[in-house]
Symmetry: C2
Subunit: 326 residues, 2 copies
Amino acid sequence: MPPATITDVARAAGVSPSTVSRALNGGRASAATIDQVNRAAASLKYRPSYIGRVLSAGRTDSVAAVVASLRRSALIEALGGLHAEAARQGLSVTLVEPSGGQGRDDAAFLRRDRDRFDGIVLLGRTVAESEREIGGEKLIAIGSYGKDETVGTLDPTATAAEHLRRLGHRSVHYIGVAHADPERTDYDGSRETSFFRSCSDSFVAATSSGTAPTVEGGFSATVTAVTGSSARPSALIAGTAEIAIGSATALRQLGLHVPGDIALIGIEDHPLAALLGVTTIDVGSEARGRRIACDVAKTLHPEAVDMSAVPPVSAPRVSLRLRSSC
Amino acid sequence: MPPATITDVARAAGVSPSTVSRALNGGRASAATIDQVNRAAASLKYRPSYIGRVLSAGRTDSVAAVVASLRRSALIEALGGLHAEAARQGLSVTLVEPSGGQGRDDAAFLRRDRDRFDGIVLLGRTVAESEREIGGEKLIAIGSYGKDETVGTLDPTATAAEHLRRLGHRSVHYIGVAHADPERTDYDGSRETSFFRSCSDSFVAATSSGTAPTVEGGFSATVTAVTGSSARPSALIAGTAEIAIGSATALRQLGLHVPGDIALIGIEDHPLAALLGVTTIDVGSEARGRRIACDVAKTLHPEAVDMSAVPPVSAPRVSLRLRSSC
DNA sequence: ATGAAAGCGCTAACAC
DNA sequence: GTGTTAGCGCTTTCAT
């Protein structure tokens, strides 16, 4: 037996389909009718069809999350925030990891599935020109800094570099994310750019290397950076939480004392970084996710968005988590 | 200007909507017509409406993932596998974290949104009776062991306990997941049950404690278990990857030598566990996710499922990753 | 090979 | 306050 439709309920309640719709959705209807309809709906185990509603309403009430990688805790956190807030706003979140992890096919995805969603959120990368054209308004990237905001206080890499400079460090090595696809510009790329920009006149020596955004990547990049032929830097900046954890692990296994022999600061905070005493720049991934969900919700029903659980935009977006590694 | 519909294309191509549909979906149509239609579609930038298709086809081609927690790497891995394989099969994955992380509202979710999805996958918990009734066929849980399979080789906790027994351990402490909601039965609960069942006659002393499935939880539970008033166990079993990592960190900070002073084995593998030398039981989360996606796909088009990227069911589901912590 | 028509489940005008 | 009608975009018989 197929699920009951609104027509069935209407018949059972002795009213018309539209009345059922109104009764169920809080439109104009007499108390008696509402009761009648609820009764009928209950006895028929009626549940409204999502698809039917969407088709006629023109909204899907769902957002796509294009996650660059499910193995980066900062992105998962952002996803969590996005999802939690979206749920509060009555939106659901559909996962769209770019095929092959390269982001190449995002354009194809956008072209095909754009109107399955009320919003498309990019986590862990910025929007490419070509994508902007296709995605239009719906496309929102999380994790980009600058633009309409004061770069100084919002750029985590600059904050990290500044912190090290104040502590008197002169030679700093940045371990960033290396992508298989060199054309890809995501926010890790912008972090590296920012690193060189913000420290070029502060440090005697600023170097960088790229690796996979994993603990293994951080581990091996650290070994290379620290035991390599050139002079050992006095401080390391790790571009992601996983890199920082791998880095801390490597330094320990190399028998280097932190921060005595070398300092370490990580971009993106992580519970384990706290446990390991690694100073980090908290980029507030979770809050960013929440905020984005609100942005999407606002495009749908500008008036009715409940912002109560979302930190105000004026709140600082990155903050130093001072621990013992610097 | 609203997006072009199939009717627009039909008009532009000088044919009927149904012909357009056939031409576009590989139905019977003359080559000339197909070409004609493609041309018109292209010039109008026509893209088929997902909603329209779903409404008339009756399939949503999407599955819901009910993830118990986004902070457990094993579940994220499973989600990754589910998602990757689903994508290969033309399915999309919508994220549904149980409200409040308590799982209480899953029933409500199921009742409301059941037919938005072709399948509903539970990650990190088993299916409750009440949910089974509502969810029916569509409801699949990942991460349960036993049932139709030989428990001996598939139960990770039993494997861990057995490994420790062979190494001569007599007093073992299991650190499992404590839930806010005691009624909840997820697979961590079954892991604890399995622990006591599988070691009751092997060890002189078997104890357990519960904590949050996080590195902090693992850390503090380990401190308690190891420095508590009672005799220190000779080995620890950590119920999740995060607990194992927290545990390893705690043991190090306590100055205990592993495995000299105390052994540690973790359930669920993790890159960092490898780096830290923690022996684990790999439960194959990613593969489990993939398999589930195939199961769902098979219910949709039993014939056309491409199993090439999925490990055979006969493959061992849990395996010992021997490292230096035991 | 193609067109006409019905209908998927629901909502929104508009009339009563 | 409620019923009628129309239509969201597509697929799918059934004729032609």
